[in-house]
Amino acid sequence: MDIVYTLWLRSLKRYVRSKSRIVGSLGMPVFFLLALGFGLNSVVQMPGDTGENYMQFLVPGIIAMSVLFTSVFSGIQIIWDKQFGFLKETLVAPVSRLEIMLGQTLGGATTAVIQGAFILILSLLIGIRFTSFTGFLIAFLFMTLIGICFAAFGIAIASKMEDMHGFQLIMNFVVFPIFGLSGALFPIESLPEWLVPLTLIDPLTYGVEGIRYGLLGTSAIHPLVCLAALGGCTAVMIVAGALLFRKASI
């Protein structure tokens, strides 16, 4: 456990020091939130009569987006460690690769949740009101699961990549589709029927709906289903990440 903590501590120290990365990775979610939120708030009529407006609907999606991108990126960062030699230092130590992988995953998840929390605070500042304190805790639970799931996913990908060249490919063809299909920007009930199965195999959908339940009190998918689906997916990603990282060459 102390080894996992050591790797986690390193991630956090690096995170706190890279101010430009913190601000940089907040840029896109904030832009989405403000542009889409304010821009579409008055023209989009939410289905049903829950009384929520589009801005309220959007906030959980953007929080999930922020957590998703930060966690995938932090997982993929082990490629840097590989390229700049630091990974050797950890791999030659008398510790198991599983411990290294778990530490890296939890470190990435933590920074991702912090990034998500920034969006949450921002949305409070622009006047969004949420239901309850318990709701916050539920939202954080789902943010944490998204963080762990996709940090492990990032490590799994990084274990297979030689350098950062494939990074853009992964971002455009894997991470953006995961975000786009998740119902972060639109209610999944109003999608054409042929598209629904795609959103339902996207693990982020359950994360977005879970956060939405926590913050707004309503969700298209039952929160326990969300918890089970996302939790299961997280477990699978950790196992996949651990297996691939164990075989990764340096």
Binding site: T6, R10, G85, F86, A93
Partner: protein, 327 residues
């Protein structure tokens, strides 16, 4: 007492044999050098001994522990400074040390005391709170050596410890390495393609080329085998000279790149006679020099070619520059 025992150790990558059935023993407290050109198999050997690479065949014991049967056991008992930098530049010197100490599960009190001592040893005490990215190449190397010693390994591996460093810093590092070896009794195995480094530091040297060890002995013995003196002749007729020259006091001659290296005894005494015989044969001579044999001559003697030393290759230079200038 044996620190490292290597037997028929082999590593193949596909069709390419990087290390070909090498065997050697390193005594406790020795500084042992693997000398050879880039790509000779030095780093591959080190990687196998430090459990980063699985051997294709053969066995090796490090501190009596089998490198394949008990990887963690080997890892605990060795320290390693890699050829490429392996520090976290976003962390301070102290944090890099602390990270290492935690990975090796050194209790907090001991860890802090040792970090303090080691940073003092490598004269980085006053920079301990600085981020590593602000460090020069030499400072980084010193920090890496200090880090490699933190868990008090019995054997320290140094892979090209002074690659890309300026002469002054190299000298400085050599002194550190010798001090460490003498005061702490640590067995050191280093790889290098610098002849002077091997000559100055190593108790024994294994010359390695194309994955095999072609000679192994103390630097003095290796040089003695070449002959007591060496005359190097630069000439357009170098090939003829190498095949035709002979005298009782000449022990051998090798031709390479328009030069002949003649191994002989008491060169001062015989030089006049040698020059005369050049005249008799009507060889065109550009220049002649006499010197004591160096490891360069030894290498030439065993491999028939010169080692590409002096400067790191272009790729190394780019890599060093990237490391130095990275943010």
């Amino acid at each position: 007492m044996t620190a490292i025992h290597v037997e028929q150790l082999t590593k193949r990558f596909g069709d390419f044999t990087a290390v070909d059935a090498i065997s050697f023993d390193i005594r406790k407290g020795e500084i042992f050098g693997l000398l050879g050109p880039n790509g000779a198999g030095k780093t591959t050997t080190i990687s196998m001994l430090s459990t980063l690479l699985e051997p294709t065949s053969g066995t090796a014991l490090v501190n009596g522990i089998d490198i394949q049967k008990d990887q963690d056991g080997v890892r605990k008992s060795i320290g390693i400074v890699f050829q490429d930098q392996s520090l976290d530049e976003e962390l301070t010197a102290w944090e890099n040390m602390d990270f290492h100490g935690r990975l090796y599960r050194i209790p907090k009190a001991v860890r802090e005391e040792r970090i303090q001592d080691l940073l003092h040893l490598v004269e980085l005490e006053d920079r301990k709170e600085s981020l590593v990215k602000t460090f020069s190449g030499g400072m980084r190397r010193r920090l890496e050596i200090a880090r490699g010693l933190l868990h008090e390994p019995a054997v320290l591996f140094l892979d090209e410890p002074t690659l890309g460093l300026d002469p002054q810093t190299r000298n400085h590092l050599w002194t550190y390495i010798q001090t460490l070896n003498r005061t702490k009794g640590i067995t050191i195995i280093l790889t290098t393609h610098y002849m002077d480094e091997a000559d100055r530091l190593c108790d024994r040297i294994a010359i390695i080329d194309r994955g095999t060890i072609i000679a192994m002995d103390t630097p003095e013995e290796l040089k003695k085998r070449v002959g007591s003196d060496v005359v190097t002749v630069t000439s357009p007729d170098s090939e003829r000279i190498a095949t035709e020259i002979s005298a009782p006091w000449i022990s051998g001659a090798e031709q390479h790149d328009g030069q002949v290296t003649i191994r002989l005894h008491d060169a001062e005494e015989h030089i006049a006679e040698l020059i005369r015989s050049f005249g008799d044969h009507e060889y065109a001579i550009t220049s002649v020099s006499i010197h004591q044999p160096t490891l360069e001559d030894v290498f030439l003697h065993y491999t028939g070619k010169t080692i590409r030393e002096e400067e790191p290759g272009a790729a190394d230079r780019i890599r060093m520059r990237m490391m130095g200038g990275r943010h």
